[in-house]
Symmetry: C2
DNA sequence: AAATAAGGATGTTATGAAGCATATAATAGA
DNA sequence: TCTATTATATGCTTCATAACATCCTTATTT
């Protein structure tokens, strides 16, 4: 049965929850729905690769996508994660450049592909859409600038603590304060910009300092205020 | 005579060279010119500060502006420099946040202030303007992402070489390959994300390796291909 | 022009973090 | 279920770079 090709559910094709599309007219929204294509993607799938030409952007309706750049000898630098309600691939599309990042599914995902033509149609016909889009990019730019400052000025220890707190803010926790997103130590290292061993060591330290608890890849927060102090925030 | 208040010249109030405004109608351009305010700023002047509320964005018609964030114990992180033809302060304005950077004049400048109202008017009435604006932000976002990868993965030596090459691409050279922009070693350090002493040492090394020549703050490029190799590009 | 401050150069030392080696544990594929 | 592969853990070593101290030089200010 596992080989049966599943179709996206209603929830997974529904874009009405996206802030970005809130100000569309009924006609525009209909058109968007008509022209979009939704698909399911298994963990590990590459959505697009660095250097490829994009034909549209994607709306994430389920799962988690890792966006990263490939640096020196193949080392990944994770730029961000995209989850439900967020869009990916729009940057390269808008600036009409080849993709400068790779997008990989890390939690089984559902994505809706919106063709470039549709994007352009919306930009041309609805200033509120453009305005919203501008705000999304501007916010991401601020985050990038903040990150540059952190990475340039903070220690690995501080950055790791900060990354953990960021994950806590942006991803689901279960009722026991355990992060539901599952990342390898290497992925954490690729966010922080350090070596895998350093992350392993520091996580153990955080654990013995009773800031977090570790069970495999699951991270449970025990003392957020103390972790915030470690992050130097 | 030095206390005489100079008015901006015609060239310094002329926005017709800006790509961003190329697609405005005559009426829109007239309105822009009517609502803008141009002024001259001496080196050292702060245009806006982190945390302040902005009332508009600025078009740089002369000089160089340093955009930076203040990190741990006041250490500056330089985000970028803006020169003639570029705009500043638009990011915070568009996302309706308080300024997250400070802008300081490092070469006597002329700026035209464009009120938020005018920006909104243009966004609402001219989709090509919005589209152009989107492209500007998207391009800056790519640069920020590239920079994150560099700073996270490259050595200080590589980053310094790269920064020098970036300056070479983006700022004027005289006929002897000497950079006209004048930066202190500390400012270079604040771009690269390192200590001032490290920049001093590495610049001397580059000099003895015959990659550059130094005379005070003036940097002359002797061997760009070799410098590119050092930058690991 | 003298005074004061700011920037630059260099040696020395300290240390955070990377790199390597190796062992164990966990996960996924056949 | 067994095996192969990948991830995690930990010790040890090395190295790049930060931090500190001091001296020298170049700008700014009065």
């Amino acid at each position: 049965m596992r080989s049966a090709i599943k179709r996206p559910s209603d929830e997974e094709t529904n874009l009405s929850g996206f802030q970005l599309f809130k100000k569309l007219t009924e006609e525009e929204f209909t058109r968007l729905n008509y022209e979009k294509t939704c698909s399911l993607y298994k963990k590990g799938t590459i959505i697009y690769r660095e250097g490829s030409r994009l034909t549209g952007f994607f709306c994430v309706t389920r799962g988690i996508i890792k966006i990263f750049k490939t640096g020196i000898d193949g080392k990944e630098q994770i730029i961000r994660f995209a989850k439900k309600g967020e869009i990916i691939a729009y940057r390269s599309l808008l600036s009409q450049e080849l993709a400068c990042t790779t997008a990989k599914v890390i939690d089984d995902a559902a994505l809706c592909h919106v063709p470039y033509q549709t994007l352009l149609y919306l930009i041309q016909n609805n200033w509120q859409f453009s305005h919203h889009m501008l705000q999304i990019v501007c916010r991401e730019l601020r985050e990038a600038n903040d990150y540059i400052t952190d990475i340039a000025q903070k220690t690995v220890r501080e950055r790791l603590a900060e990354v953990l707190l960021l994950l806590k803010e942006n991803f689901e926790l279960d009722n026991q304060n355990t992060l539901q997103i599952s990342l390898t130590r290497e992925e954490l290292a690729n966010m922080v910009g350090t070596a895998t061993e350093s992350v392993i060591r520091l996580l153990s330290e955080f654990k013995s300092d009773k800031l977090i608890e570790l069970q495999g890849r699951k991270i449970k927060f025990l003392d957020t205020p103390a972790l915030t102090r470690v992050a130097n925030l």
